[in-house]
Subunit: 337 residues, 2 copies
Amino acid sequence: MNSEAQLIERIARAIPSQQGGELRLGIGDDAAIVAPTGKTDWLLSCDAFVETVHFLSETHPADSVGYKALVRAASDLAAKGATPRLFLLTLALPPSRTGAWLDSFLKGMGRAAQVLGMRLAGGDTTACPIVSISITVAGEAPRGHAIRRSGARAGDIIYVSGRLGRAQLGLELVLGGSHRIPAFRKLLQPHLYPHIRIELGAWLARHRVASAMTDISDGLSTDLGHLCTSSGVGARLWTDHVPRVEIPARVTAKLGRTRLDGPLEMALHGGEDYELLFSVSPRKATLLRQAPEFAEAAAIGEITRGKQILLVESNGRATQLKPRGWDPFGRHSRRSR
Amino acid sequence: MNSEAQLIERIARAIPSQQGGELRLGIGDDAAIVAPTGKTDWLLSCDAFVETVHFLSETHPADSVGYKALVRAASDLAAKGATPRLFLLTLALPPSRTGAWLDSFLKGMGRAAQVLGMRLAGGDTTACPIVSISITVAGEAPRGHAIRRSGARAGDIIYVSGRLGRAQLGLELVLGGSHRIPAFRKLLQPHLYPHIRIELGAWLARHRVASAMTDISDGLSTDLGHLCTSSGVGARLWTDHVPRVEIPARVTAKLGRTRLDGPLEMALHGGEDYELLFSVSPRKATLLRQAPEFAEAAAIGEITRGKQILLVESNGRATQLKPRGWDPFGRHSRRSR
């Protein structure tokens, strides 16, 4: 009961995949057909989500794996100010995962597609010794408006949406075995079912308010590094201004104070928050106040002419901020995030 | 020396990835930016290529793995009459494969990109216990001209390009341990470095000559089944007309007659030939003669009103042709193809 054709049928039932609009032909043929209007740009990105590297099948609920796989891929579109439209799913699965696990996975992915307003346009399924997911996402932005990493200029103010480190706290709870405790449910949300800022990103692109933008997937220290390198600039981060996770006392009590990073460490290096990190010229600061979710954005520093990224404390003391976020091949890799 | 950033640099050096034309922003940012003209359709497809399922790292040369991973993905574009343009590469690798193996892999993929005229527009790299490759390809076709699987009508003639079964013969030589014998090099080519029919596919789309089309990736019996199911038709396949691999006596001698399928079996079920399978209305048969590579195409049967696919011998005897090609989750799956 698990031929490839039957799998494709189950996928199509669980995930929005109807044709219409620019999607002239969806799943079930060799390729999807998209008919762009020519008035917008299309943004394309792909993202891998691999068992044992990014998630643990025994620990992470299957519907979270499906939900998060799509959201984290779509975050790369939000990071350019694009509106997510379509995705393609490569699903490599052990035959043992093609039953109830897959149904739950697809349910989570279907829910994410609904939330994001995305449709499945194609994919490929294959057997594999471990669960390996690759998603290609396609989104639209007004022509020429997509925000690159490379446009930050000295004097621009650096903003971030949301509180950073919340995803790492959720991860710590999951790895600490506390993910089944109902009182912790809300704290797990950012790790298991992340929220991305599509509206804010699209608004920033439409109004050309941000000079550069990226999302925080690998951690602020790493992603700000990418943005600065692409733009050929440096940055000063105001330590006190970085909005950070609050760690409830009951979590510290449960997990033990020694095994947890502090809130600032989590905010600087935690990663997977999928918040937006963007630079804005001071002359656009007034316009920025009209942005959706502006109340949840904070100015956390400024772009500088140098190449260094400095962490500046309230007493003026500055230290260099080294990238210590996630790198799948680097020294700081951790398992299962 | 193997941070993700360094890996991306190596990839960009090995594979054509320059910006220009409709590709406004290539690799190195969160997403690629494509600016479609609005005059063409864009076709999207993705394809997984997984160690132990589709290839064996100890047996298949790394440059063949890279070459074939891209060509087989692009074949889905040729199958719709689209011209391949861009691709995104998800590369999940064990750290042990990030050295010489990766260089050779990238060299093969770079060569395929050159041959196909494709540019790398983006990707993702991650650690993984096995090599798992997923490629999303994007191609263009004149608006409304892409050829679907679903347009075949009773009375149409079924054509196939090339000789079928050649890829399976190459696979048998590889699995039989004969892939290092220089005299067999040419016979290995269809398995290790397949050729796809982009020009023929694009011509058929431009001139609206084919009513339906697909490529032979899983085997004629399976892929003709897909085309017929999508079109709601059946087919009669003329056994004598199916162009098939020639098995040289020295191969039979080497591998032993008993372990080899016969040429017809290979042609019907072998798969991975990446030839084009298409249907043409009889009133377009004259026009078809002007197609590039027409001399290498053969009429092998006709579309019928029923739902069955029949194999018709020269004496008129007809038997049902069951799909016995490749299915990654099915009974007939073989390892490493």
